[in-house]
Symmetry: C2
Subunit: 189 residues, 2 copies
């Protein structure tokens, strides 16, 4: 049931059988069909979510009704609204399944306790978040300095595996472009 998640942990750090048992105790599995929501704007996000299977998109709706994709989360990656989680305020993001998904959910309290109980996991998560931060900075760099064409080329080389699983207009949104512009960029290659 949580096999993918447990294997992920074992591949990333040394963890005893007892600790694996602790983890399993606090995990909950959530299945999502395509187009269903893991989180909707206005709800408070109270979990840490690990994607065992499938693909999610996190997006925000601006005051003109336009959607902007903030993140994609595929298998073996994490999802959630960290700001809502941290402050326990209503989420400004929506998280929707692009494909049928298997998600592991751990509540905030269980998660924080778990990390205190397993120092190696605490350190692993710290390093994980640091790498996420590095990835964010790379994306910021692309956003502020690349042309439309460069943004797309960068996406293709950085996320080749996602390319054929995500509708083009969502990639456009992720890159801060209109679908029409992305279509034209692609036709020029």
């Amino acid at each position: 049931m949580f096999d993918v998640f447990i294997e992920y942990l074992q591949s990333k750090l040394t963890i005893t059988d007892a600790e694996v048992e602790m983890v399993k105790q606090i995990c909950r599995l959530k299945k999502l069909r395509k187009k269903q929501y893991l989180l909707q704007e206005g709800d408070v996000w109270r979990y840490n979510a690990f994607v065992q299977k499938g693909l999610l998109r996190t997006y925000r709706v601006d005051n003109k009704g336009q959607e902007h994709v903030i993140q994609f989360s595929a298998e073996n990656w994490w999802s959630g609204d960290r700001y809502s989680y941290l402050t326990e305020t209503p989420a400004r993001y929506n998280i929707e399944a692009i494909e049928d998904c298997d998600i592991v959910l751990i509540t905030k309290v269980d998660y924080e306790n778990l990390l205190e109980a397993i120092p190696a996991l605490n350190t692993f998560v710290r390093h994980l978040v640091e790498r996420s931060f590095i990835a964010s900075q790379n994306r910021i760099n692309a956003d502020i300095s690349f042309t439309a064409e460069e943004k797309y080329n960068d996406f293709v080389t950085t996320h080749p595996a996602l390319l054929n699983r995500i509708p083009q207009h969502m990639i456009a949104s992720y890159l801060g472009l209109t679908p029409e512009t992305l279509s034209r960029v692609r036709s020029k290659r």
Copy 2:
């Protein structure tokens, strides 16, 4: 000598006198005059840097020779090239003093050992990096969905204290705009 840093730690977490001593042992102070560099592209970044006083800018030079500001770091904040630090490869960023600075440096080995020795610090740093990540996502959101005017207004409300300490052309660069465009945006307010 490290007073500001120690006070910062004490304000953020509970820490014993012995632990404070440990911290002091591994700290090194670096003073920078305005326009001096903390890190230059090509060098490997091997520290964690805490700004006690002053203001730094982290920027990258693109293949057309154009500078792009990735981050500003003022007092009571951290600086560094996390990617170079993590991978021990030559930095792609430059970090330059906008004002005279007092910087606390801790080497990678000392830092990692310290965090293992003080679990509360490990958790604090994890939360710190998580908040940095949230801030990055907010900036990405602005980059992909705001107009020039909205980007500047957002900067003004998010970083009011920095506004008068940073030359306008650097703010423009941070926002992904040309100095001319930012000047025109400002004249319209």
